[in-house]
Amino acid sequence: MKEMKLGSFEETLMLLVGILDKEAYAFKIGEEYEAQSKKPVSIGAVHSTLNRLSKKGFLSSEMGLPTAERGGRRKRIYKITAEGQRALEQSRDFRLSLWNQFPAFSGRKFKLS
């Protein structure tokens, strides 16, 4: 049975992949994570997670163009697949439905898509 749930780190990375679009490769994703969450992360950890998400079918990847600062090496660009998109939406909807049931927030309905 394939794991369809997204972990918190996984979800964050997926969103970052979406945000970075054409620039979504391990190094850039790691940088962006550090910049937005103010927490350090190793590229290895990011790469390993991206690899796992690819195997689950949430991400696809292909080799991009080489640049000079990489010593002329190519980078692997990640993209969210339709399945990944669905997993993200599910995760968000689950959170939102929980928030909406939370009495402290009653009256402040969050809209479900």
């Binding site: 190094f27 790691g30 290895g44 790469h47 796992r52 600062e69 990489r70 090496r73 190519r74």
Partner: protein, 868 residues
């Protein structure tokens, strides 16, 4: 600046454990991280961070030996892309390559379908495994003869006394003539079977309407779907009346789905009940061998045991003074392909030989096609050598190169397979025509596709392995420098393949010519009578037998009929054999079996037999019942010097007499198998009507005008008798059908073999000519004529074909001699057929090779020499 590089050691450590396919992206990311760290913080911090990053890559997914099998389609795609480019770059070569392979595959597919059809004969019957035919062994002239004709009572006896062996026993008539079926005013000549009522169930007929019990009442008849369509169209056929042979009336009690053509009863358009003919008043006998007996064994009964159990039944129940006849059972799976016995033992039948022969031919044609493929690929090795050199220099492993070449060959084979499937679609109707089959392409047969693809891949591997191994083995340095020589071994290999191809082609050509010569030989043989403009009508109604004179007078009155006669047997067989005759000076009967027929006095004038001595029968002389006319062979067999006036005695009465006088001798008449020796003929005459009517039309009238007039006269005399006729020459031509089929198929195969061989040769010669362009240019500059050059280029191939001839001629002589031995009336081994085969092959080779050699020879040497 050197310090600005990421720490070397860290990188090295990373590469020791990191998966190769990840190295590029990971190193790139780390470099980028490093430089961004350098620009933001200190070099030391960047270096520390690099180490940190490297250690953080020690995760399972990144480890080398932690196998996760990356499915890299990249290499496949690359291989196929290059393969496709090579294919498109050399269009002519690719066309020859794929075309040749496609031809080969088409032949193999067709032969495969044909063999499958032969092997699945009768498999439509549900009880296929348990149905048997009862045969008997007779001793004749010291030889054991296996026959299928039986006495009717045998079937009844087996079914009554062996219920533990047989679930059902059924019988049908041994000789099954077509019968005339009439509904209202439509009459058709139809083949059908009279069976005991249990047959439809045993044969598991697929009923569209009615049930298997439809013939349990004697007047019931089951008709095929197509016959129902023919007679009744959209009307409901059930319960309708059908008249058979203008006397018996049957009621349609069921409609069955037409049996497939490849089954023993595939020609059945109806099934009717034996009970209609045999009942308590007219029982089955132990004396008349006019039936075939079939049985269905009980489940679990072993055929050999059952055979042994019933072996003596016939002998025990017949007159004890008669020779014993052993019974045996032939399972349904052997009916079609293994029904041939010699001296009582089952031997390979002609059909089975053909199945094997065609199988072998198919295999050979495929081999020819593969050889082309190998030849063309290895011949082009110099063009590919540079490519191999470059690839190897760039780090390609030998296995990669083998993969590359195999991918190309798979690409070619798949293309060929697709083409051949299309080709088979187009050829099948025609192929069915010449092979007398009803094969359809089984689109939804999984096995076909599995086998087809399996065999495409096998072909690709067989054809691609040699070039792949050969080409991938080059030393890159030599390959790039272009110093890889001709390679004696490689040339020899290629030459022997060409010789092999042409050997097979020549054998096939000679075989085809021989088959046709043999058929023509039999067609041209003197027949002893004239078949042209002769039609035959079967007569059976009661009034027919009373109106001979009237019918003859009326027919002659039409002005289109030259003469008319009747006989008790048709002209197309040698039935009616008797050996009870002796010469007056001897008390022992002659050991000669005569074909004895009864005719009306006009028989000779109608058939135009060739009288060599004596005189013909004559109506004016009254009933000549004690006169006989014999054939030349009969005279020879009896050892008579002066046959005319010779007395012949019979042990029992023929034509009402026991003493006869020969009044005439005729040339031997070929009535039976045209490939066999004639049989000694003895003709009796009387003026009574007989079952087979012959009408000779006058030479100057057209069939179109004569037939209606004859029909009018016939129907005028016999209003209830259907007028259904056959042309004697057409019936005779039908006897050649089996041989002609072999001939057409042999032609088909040899044309293909030649075509494939020529395609290969064309490709090879193109390549050779191209390689020697410069040499030719220099020779031309030095004064060689076009003729000289043409000779030079054609010589190589001619020698190969010559060697092929040397091998093929004795081989084919050996095989064909064996084949011809199976015919009594045959051609000798004509040397000119062999010469013709060889010359034809030479001519074809020269034409093929000449295209390229002339092209090169005629070219302006400036063009070829200017290139460098």
């Amino acid at each position: 600046m050197s310090k600005n590089y990421p720490p070397k050691w860290a990188e090295k450590i990373l590469l020791t454990f990191l998966k190769e396919e990840l190295a590029e992206e990971v190193l790139g990311d780390l470099d980028e991280k490093f430089y961004s760290m350098v620009s933001r913080y200190s070099l030391r911090r960047a270096q520390r961070n690099y180490w940190f990053q490297v250690f953080n890559y020690m995760r399972p997914f990144a480890f080398k030996y932690f196998k996760s099998f990356p499915i890299s389609t990249l290499m496949f795609r690359h291989n196929f892309k290059v393969g496709l480019r090579v294919l498109l770059k050399n269009k002519v070569f690719s066309l020859i390559n794929i075309g040749g392979l496609a031809l080969g595959m088409t032949v193999v597919l067709l032969i495969g379908l044909w063999i499958h059809d032969e092997l699945s004969f009768n498999k439509n019957h549900e009880n296929y495994d348990r149905i048997v035919q009862v045969l008997r062994k007779d001793k004749e002239d010291g030889m054991v003869e296996v026959n299928s004709s039986h006495v009717g009572q045998l079937g009844i006896y087996l079914s009554d006394n062996y219920p533990n062996l047989f679930e059902e026993v059924t019988m049908t008539f041994y000789r099954n003539n077509p019968r005339l079926l009439t509904v209202e005013n439509q009459t058709f000549d139809q083949i059908g079977y009279f069976f005991r009522p249990n047959a439809p169930e045993m044969l598991s007929l697929k009923m569209i309407a009615g049930t298997w019990d439809g013939i349990s009442e004697p007047n019931g008849i089951l008709i095929s779907e197509s016959l129902a369509q023919k007679f009744f169209g959209k009307e409901n056929p059930m319960g309708q009346a059908i008249k058979m042979n203008s006397s018996a009336i049957f009621t349609v009690n069921g409609i069955f789905e037409d049996l497939p053509v490849n089954s023993t009863f595939g020609d059945a358009t109806y099934f009717a009940s034996m009970d209609r003919i045999y009942d308590d008043e007219n029982p089955y006998t132990w004396t008349n061998f006019n039936m075939k007996v079939y049985g269905q064994l009980k489940p679990g009964v072993d055929i050999a045991n059952a055979s042994a159990a019933i072996k003596d039944v016939l002998t025990e129940n017949r007159d004890p003074n008669q020779d014993p006849m052993d019974l045996l059972l032939l399972p349904m799976k052997d009916w079609h392909l293994n029904d041939y016995f010699q001296d009582g033992a089952q031997v390979t039948s002609k059909r089975m030989q053909f199945v094997k022969l065609y199988g072998i031919i198919g295999l050979f044609v495929l081999i020819l096609a593969c050889i082309n493929f190998i030849n063309l690929n290895t011949a082009r090795y110099q063009n590919r050598a540079k490519e191999v050199g470059v690839r190897k220099t760039l780090g390609s492993l030998r296995s990669h190169l083998i993969g590359q070449f195999l991918a190309e060959s798979i690409l070619y084979a798949l293309a060929a397979f697709c083409i051949s499937i299309l080709a088979v679609q187009f050829i099948l109707p025609w192929f069915n025509g010449i092979s007398d089959k009803d094969i359809t392409f089984p689109w939804n047969n999984v096995w076909l596709w599995a086998m087809g693809l399996g065999f495409t891949l096998t072909t690709a591997l067989v054809a691609g392995t040699y070039p792949a191994l050969f080409l991938s083995g080059f030393n890159p340095l030599k390959a790039l420098r272009g110093t890889i020589g001709q390679g004696k071994l490689n040339t020899r290999f290629r030459q022997s393949l060409v010789v092999f191809q042409f050997t097979i082609s020549i054998i096939l050509i000679i075989g085809t010519l021989t088959v046709f010569k043999q058929i023509q030989h039999a067609k041209d043989r003197p027949m002893g009578y004239n078949q042209d403009r002769l039609i035959t009508v079967r007569g059976f109604s009661d009034d027919y037998y009373e109106k001979y004179d009237l019918l003859r007078a009326e027919l002659k009155k039409t002005g289109v009929v030259e003469e008319m006669a009747e006989a008790n047997y048709p002209l197309m067989n040698t039935l009616g054999n008797n050996d009870d005759f002796r010469l007056p000076e001897s008390s022992k009967s002659m050991n000669v079996s005569f074909n004895t027929i009864y005719v009306t006095p006009e028989y000779g004038k109608t058939t135009k037999w060739e009288l060599t001595q004596g005189r013909d029968f004559s109506r004016e002389l009254g009933d000549e019942t004690s006169s006989i006319i014999v054939s030349e062979l009969a005279v020879k067999k009896m050892g008579l010097e002066n046959p005319i006036g010779q007395q012949i005695l019979a042990n029992r009465a023929f034509n009402g007499h026991k003493e006869f006088t020969i009044i005439g001798v005729v040339r031997d008449m070929i009535k039976g198998n045209p490939f066999e020796e004639p049989v000694p003929l003895m003709v009796f005459s009387n003026q009574r009507s007989k079952g087979f009517l012959f009408i000779r039309m006058k030479p100057d009238v057209s069939f179109a005008s004569a037939i209606p007039k004859i029909k009018e006269a016939f129907v005028g005399v016999l209003p209830t008798h259907p007028f259904s006729y056959d042309f004697v020459d057409e019936e005779y031509a039908a006897k050649f059908r089996a041989e002609e089929r072999i001939g057409s198929l042999a032609t088909f195969f040899s044309i293909l073999a030649i075509l494939i061989s020529c395609l290969g040769l064309f490709g090879l010669s193109a390549y050779m000519a191209e390689k020697r362009t410069k040499e030719i240019g220099i020779r031309k500059v030095l004064g060689a004529s076009v003729m000289n050059l043409w000779q030079l280029l054609s010589k190589d191939f001619s020698i190969l074909v010559f060697i092929a001839c040397l091998i093929a001629i004795p081989l084919s002589a050996y095989f064909l001699n064996g084949w011809l031995q199976s015919y009594e009336y045959r051609i000798p081994i004509y040397w000119w057929i062999y010469a013709l085969g060889a010359v034809f092959c030479f001519a074809v080779t020269l034409c093929t090779v000449s295209y390229h050699s002339l092209k090169v020879s005629l070219a302006n040497p400036v063009d070829s020499l200017r290139m460098e």
